[in-house]
Assembly symmetry: C2
Homo-oligomer: 255 residues x 2
């Protein structure tokens, strides 16, 4: 029997994103690398899944070599469909990334990258999301790839507890200037969104989300956003049980 683990690779920037090529390169030799990713950018999709229209699968080759499968769906769709219909057996690891742009703090709720890893976890597969703190497409993904490989190896060797995933954010600086890995919690952001109000050629209003100022409500050094800003790789264990047990005793009095 083939003992080589299958590793499912996905992202939310789409199958043509540089970060996806980089993670596949970085994980070489760790297992059978299976790329199943959205056919175009699906940022800020959160944990959306597609139920109202069908999903199509297209093979994408680089030269004569199959690179991966492209899906007209969300990152979570890619993981679901890959696991249930496309892969020959359950992968031993899901890696989502390398995302262009950090996925820290409250932003993880909107993140397709993290949601793909969450979906893997929900399906019982150890999973990890990897993001680079840069929005520049020319960024060097190599350091992020090195750290991603390091933690992929650890997950393959030790596993992860059921229901827990890892969220890795890497600063966009040369490897030798990265100060190390810091264990972090999610920062809590308060957003001040800005919508541009514009008019179309026929004089009708429309709105466009132009930017968000995010204030970190709890800016201590163990917050992921702070750690990565200070030059550390941020490693955060996440779970997807949103139950707030701390408030239960008080809420009991409301019933």
């Amino acid at each position: 029997m083939d003992q080589t683990p299958d590793i499912l690779i996905t992202n939310d920037d789409g199958i043509h994103a540089p970060g996806l090529r980089e993670i596949k390169e970085a994980l070489k030799g760790l297992g059978n690398l299976k790329v199943v990713a959205p056919d175009s950018e699906r940022s800020a999709m959160g944990h959306a899944i597609t139920m109202l229209h069908p999903l199509r699968v297209v093979e994408v080759s680089h030269g004569s070599e199959l690179f991966g499968l492209a899906i007209n769906g969300t990152p979570a769709d890619c993981v679901k469909l890959a696991v249930h219909s496309l892969l020959p057996r359950l992968p031993r690891l899901v890696v989502s990334g390398i995302n262009l742009g950090p996925n820290t703090g409250t932003n993880v709720l909107y993140s397709g990258t993290v949601s793909a890893a969450t979906e893997g976890t929900i399906l019982g597969i150890p999973s990890m999301a990897v993001s680079l703190r840069s929005f520049d497409k020319q960024s060097d993904f190599t350091p992020a790839g090195i750290y991603a490989r390091q933690f992929a190896e650890k997950i393959l060797a030790r596993g992860l507890p059921d229901g827990i995933l890892l969220n890795l954010n890497v600063p966009a600086i040369p490897k030798e200037t990265i100060k190390g890995v810091r264990l972090t919690r999610l920062a809590r952001y308060r957003y001040r969104d800005r919508y541009d109000r514009r008019q179309d050629p026929r004089g009708r209003d429309y709105f466009w989300l132009t930017g968000e100022d995010a204030e970190v409500l709890n800016p201590s050094s163990d917050a992921d956003a702070v750690a990565v800003e200070q030059g550390y790789v941020s490693l955060t264990p996440l779970c997807y049980d949103l139950t707030c047990r701390d408030f239960m005793p008080e809420l009991e009095g409301w019933i």
Copy 2:
């Protein structure tokens, strides 16, 4: 100064859904009710937000009376845009629902209904999601409306701690047979998704998510899915900090 609170009402079934009319009816008299909802069904959108295309706002009237504003976006978009660009001031409460179909357990991650309430919470507004455990459009929403009003009144009177929202699931049975309100935690589901593999008229394959069998991994009576199945209204406090602190000591050893 007008002391009447503004209450923002939204959903993920869309502005024409019966459950939206029902919740507006049920909350009458509690404040200025402002409906801002998706222009069509946006189920399973999770916490998706729209960044790649513009949002348009359309007034929807019932007879001669303005019912609310319809947006070509996700539930989270509706809350963001309403708060930042459409409402005259910060609402005192966001109510999302009444959803046709329960939003319990791991499903809350996929739920547009819950994500709209989460978005309200992120923006600092006390928020609540309300769902009916039925997929039948002819269902009687009245009991769910009664409980929604009850907890809306309590939130308006007492507030909610920053970062915490309420998730209410109501069984689709007559009010007098509901056994009461039970304080619950989210059930943990393990899904066995099923995708139909079909062929289009030109012989090309496509996949369609046809259903999910969900097994509750922790089926005790304090699980939300179990409570509502047993005839109780399920009340779950949620937060959106996904950090898994329990695993931190062990993960420290990985670095």
